[in-house]
């Protein structure tokens, strides 16, 4: 069904593209939020990515690869949003977390805080690698395809991103006092 919508959209059918966008929009937002750590910026990135996808859709040869292709566009849109944020806003932002996060037995509040801080310290490129690999569960070659990187570069970036995450968590854990939850 998605293939057919892609083909129709390639012929200029805006209605079909709208349906297509609604099929993939939530997942695009989920990816963008995790890369950018900001819902507003993520929405802007998804909007920009969808418009670019419409403009460039005729260049997509294999219609079954629509989503990986869109994710690559989305990744670039996230990078652009991150750059824009850097330009206009250097201070800390508050994530709209209310209602967004469900309880997870495996993660403590301390885990979440440490990982959130550590994740924010990574570059946006490092976050993208981790999101595609750990959140979507993609192989390195698929991660490479969706980030526009050579496979070897994706491998080494995953390696360094993981290491940077560890180092950041390590540094934070040394200096942060444990929360009441942790002590309980």
């Amino acid at each position: 069904m998605q293939d057919e919508l892609v083909r129709q959209a390639q012929r200029g059918d805006a209605e079909a593209f709208d349906s297509l966008a609604r099929m993939v929009g939530d997942r695009c937002l989920a990816i963008a939020v995790r890369i950018l750590r900001d819902v507003d910026l993520a929405e802007d990135a998804v909007q920009a990515a969808l418009i670019t996808a419409w403009t460039e859709l005729r260049a997509l040869r294999d219609t079954s690869r629509f989503e990986p292709w869109l994710h690559r566009i989305l990744t670039n849109a996230c990078y652009a949003e991150a750059r824009r944020r850097k330009r206009w806003y250097e201070g800390p932002r508050i994530l709209p977390v209310a209602g967004a996060y469900g309880p997870d037995e495996y993660l403590t509040v301390d885990d979440r805080d440490l990982l959130e801080r550590a994740f924010r310290r990574l570059t946006v490129q490092q976050r993208a690698i981790l999101v595609f690999h750990h959140y979507l569960g993609l192989s390195i070659s698929e991660v490479a395809a969706r980030t526009g990187l050579p496979v070897g570069t994706a491998k080494s970036r995953l390696h360094y991103a993981t290491r940077a995450l560890r180092a950041s968590v390590d540094a934070d854990a040394r200096t942060s006092p444990p929360s009441q939850e942790r002590m309980a």
Binding site: L57, A100, Y101, L138, G148, T153, H159, R163, A167
Partner: protein, 324 residues
């Protein structure tokens, strides 16, 4: 946090939190805009090959092994593969389900490769596919490896050239008869593919010498581990440097945003070697090991201190080879 938490599971659990729904406002805005936006016409042939198909080796900076203390408690330690996955998960279009695996105990903190011979090519899944195994002599502490990439490195600061102060050695082997495409211009590599591939150390080194931009040294004879070949040094121009930019931005004027020295193209995939940043230096030793080509690549940046460069050279020159 306890000391026995599965690091991958923690990261996945963290990333899986949340349930996002794109608002109608965004869909409406997209719809309104595409109604007024013409789709770009596609003229001419599809561009092939795509870099996405390429098993390109893009090694970052070399590494200092972190003494994982509290960090290891959260994210664990995985022996010789510091932070990198040993295997690739199966691709899936859906976000992965909530993790169910039991926490696994962490291993002891990783403290680097032990002194003595180390099989750089020991891991399966290396990108070159050649039959020769390469051993190097680890003489000092601080070295670690990325097994999947046949790479050992030291003094990593996590940066690309020219900022990194680290360096590393790659050991790739290629089966007899492998055809090397040494691109005439590493920046315009997609359109400067040589008419004739190189297959011997002499031919490969000569092609590098003629390569634009890399300021290659004159090839000299070299013998490593009892096998003869040619040594040549390549340097990526500093003119690509853009302070604060990513690697892809620095090479943004190049094909696919990559500066590519050489490639080996197969039927449906290829191996290519690309640069990690301006000023990067690659000291290549191209050897004929019983018909197979082995390329030892000691790579460092302008900021790498001389003692580290000496270590890299000594490590590369310590190489011995094992044939199947």
């Amino acid at each position: 946090m306890t000391a026995s938490r599965d690091p991958d599971r923690l990261v996945r659990a963290f990333l899986l939190e949340g349930d996002e729904e794109l608002s109608d406002r965004v869909y409406d805005a997209v719809r309104a805009q595409i109604e007024q936006t013409r789709q770009r016409a596609v003229i001419g042939p599809w561009r092939t090959p795509s870099m996405n198909k390429y098993m390109t080796l893009g090694l970052g900076a070399a590494a200092v092994v972190l003494a994982l203390v509290v960090g290891a408690q959260l994210l664990g330690s995985s022996g010789g593969n510091v932070g990198g996955p040993n295997d690739e998960p199966t691709a899936t279009a859906e976000p992965i389900a909530t993790p169910t695996a039991e926490p696994t105990p962490t291993s002891t903190p990783w403290s680097g490769l032990p002194a003595g011979p180390f099989d750089v090519t020991g891991a399966d899944g290396a990108v070159d596919g050649g039959p020769v195994r390469t051993f190097v002599d680890i003489a000092a502490p601080g070295w670690t490896s990325i097994p999947d990439l046949d790479y050992v490195y030291v003094n990593d600061d996590g940066l690309d050239a020219p900022q990194t102060v680290g360096g590393g050695v790659i050991a790739w082997s290629f089966p007899p008869g492998t055809e090397f495409l040494v691109y005439e211009d590493p920046c315009q590599w997609a359109t400067t593919i040589p008419e004739s591939p190189a297959t011997t150390p002499d031919e490969i080194a000569t092609a590098f010498q003629a390569q634009a931009q890399t300021d290659a040294t004159e090839p000299v004879h070299v013998t490593i581990g009892g096998y003869a070949g040619k040594a040549v040094t390549l340097t990526v121009p500093m003119s690509y440097e853009v302070p604060g930019a990513t690697r892809e931005e620095e090479f943004g004027e190049c094909d696919e945003d990559q500066f590519v020295f050489y490639g080996i193209v197969g039927e449906d995939s290829a191996v290519v070697r690309n640069a990690q940043g301006p000023g990067q230096v690659d000291e290549l030793m191209i050897l004929d090991v019983d018909g197979s080509i082995v390329i030892l690549d000691a790579v460092y940046s302008p900021a790498t201190p001389p003692d580290i460069i000496d270590e890299l050279r000594a490590l590369a020159e310590s190489a011995t080879f094992e044939l199947p």
